[in-house]
Amino acid sequence: MKTCLVVDDSSVVRKIARRILEGLEFEVTEAEDGSKALEICKRQLPDAVLLDWNMPVMDGFEFMGHMRRLPGGDQPKVVFCTTENNVAHIAQALSGGANEYIMKPFDKDIIADKFAEVGLIPVGQAMV
């Protein structure tokens, strides 16, 4: 079973994302900010990270920079999931090592499409 770390300071968003991702057969762990997410990654890297941008303590962009420098940190697929919906932020995320980018609000179809796009789930599964 593939693992996904959901990083978001909203417990509601984490809960919705968890439900969608478990439906896509991911084992889900949660973190409420970048710093806590980094601690989890130091113990064990997930296959995927669904990552909010603006969070207290450490934001998503800074977390991604630290995670990418961990041994094997280039492996997880990072999918941003944020209300920052402008080209400047998207470009910054991509050049900083993000694989995909979701602009909130999101739903199951968008998550499935984006996860299929980066090869985390088969294309056919995205259409179910």
Binding site: N85, L94, E100, M103, F106, K114
Partner: protein, 292 residues
């Protein structure tokens, strides 16, 4: 909705758009036509049917448009676009190296996601097509849908369905909450209104025809008729691309499936197609739709 009203609407849609609803699609009609009836200031389906029977031309158009599904997103099903990039275009580039031109038809172009996806695929090929004349013709039954395709403006929700984020950044311009596809890609596509039940020989012949997820709504005779007419508009070495749930097998010998390339078809000898009779009953449908 009474059974009589349902039967009337079924026949009306069959005659006017070729849409072939089974006996149990009341919910579909109600979900699409009730909002339309309300918008037109009518009390419900019963009054809508009365107006249709009285021959309200505007209402006829509105009802046909409302019932024609437009579910679509960028790079829908993905596989056909991989085939387009890896199988179709390499062969076309080789075969047309002399005249350096390619003609592509999206026969159910809907709100533009399919033709723009093809345009993006072609752009991504870069130098291989430098100096080529590329024509994409996108047709759809609905004028409203064509206007949207022409504008190339999509909501944040729409651009997140099927479109890789790199492509969004590369080929779209953000305006507030919406995203518009670049003028350079918009200029690659001609949008034309067309009912597939009508003659389409005026569009000429094509190297590639995408005709996905539209024939499933037609009955068998209509499908055969459309396949046979498509065969006359395709180059002998061209490609036909159908939707995942569609096939020519058992319907016509004008096309043959390409092994290991799901959804991809090649025309057989075109002379075989010409001999097929044209669908009886096509003429009165054309008369009704001619006013649109």
């Amino acid at each position: 909705m009474t059974p009589t009203e349902y039967e009337y609407l079924r026949k009306f849609l069959k005659d006017n758009s070729g849409l072939d609803l089974s006996a149990d699609k009341q919910y579909l009609i109600e979900s699409r036509l009730l909002p339309l009836a309300r918008k037109a200031g009518l009390s419900g389906i019963a009054e809508l049917v009365q107006k249709l029977q009285a021959g309200s031309r505007q209402l006829i158009t509105d009802v046909v448009e409302a019932m024609t599904t437009n579910e679509t997103f960028f790079f829908r099903d993905k596989v056909p676009f991989d085939h387009f990039r890896d199988t179709i275009m390499p062969e076309v580039i080789k075969a047309r190296a002399g005249k350096r031109s390619v003609r592509i038809w999206c026969a159910a172009g809907s709100t533009g996601q399919e033709p723009y996806s093809l345009a993006m695929c072609l752009k991504e090929m870069g130098a291989a097509l430098t100096g080529w004349r590329v024509e994409i013709i996108a047709t759809d039954l609905s004028q409203e849908v064509l206007e949207k395709a022409k504008a190339g403006v999509y909501s944040q929700f729409e651009v997140q369905r099927g479109l890789p984020i790199q492509m969004l950044v590369k080929y779209f311009k953000q305006t507030g909450e919406t995203w518009q596809i670049n003028p350079e890609l918009r200029a690659m596509i001609q949008h034309r209104q067309l009912n597939l039940l009508h003659d389409f020989s005026q569009f000429g012949t094509f190297d590639v025809i995408f005709c996905r997820n539209v024939l499933i709504y037609f009955d068998q005779d209509t499908k055969i008729n459309i396949f046979n007419r498509l065969a006359r508009q395709i180059e002998p070495d061209g490609f036909l691309v159908l939707g995942a749930a569609e096939t020519v097998v058992g319907l016509t010998d004008t096309f043959r499936p390409i092994p290991d390339r799901r959804g991809l078809y090649k025309p057989n000898d075109p002379r075989a197609a010409v001999a097929k009779p044209v669908l009886a009953g096509a003429a009165p449908r054309m008369a009704v739709m001619a006013g649109r």
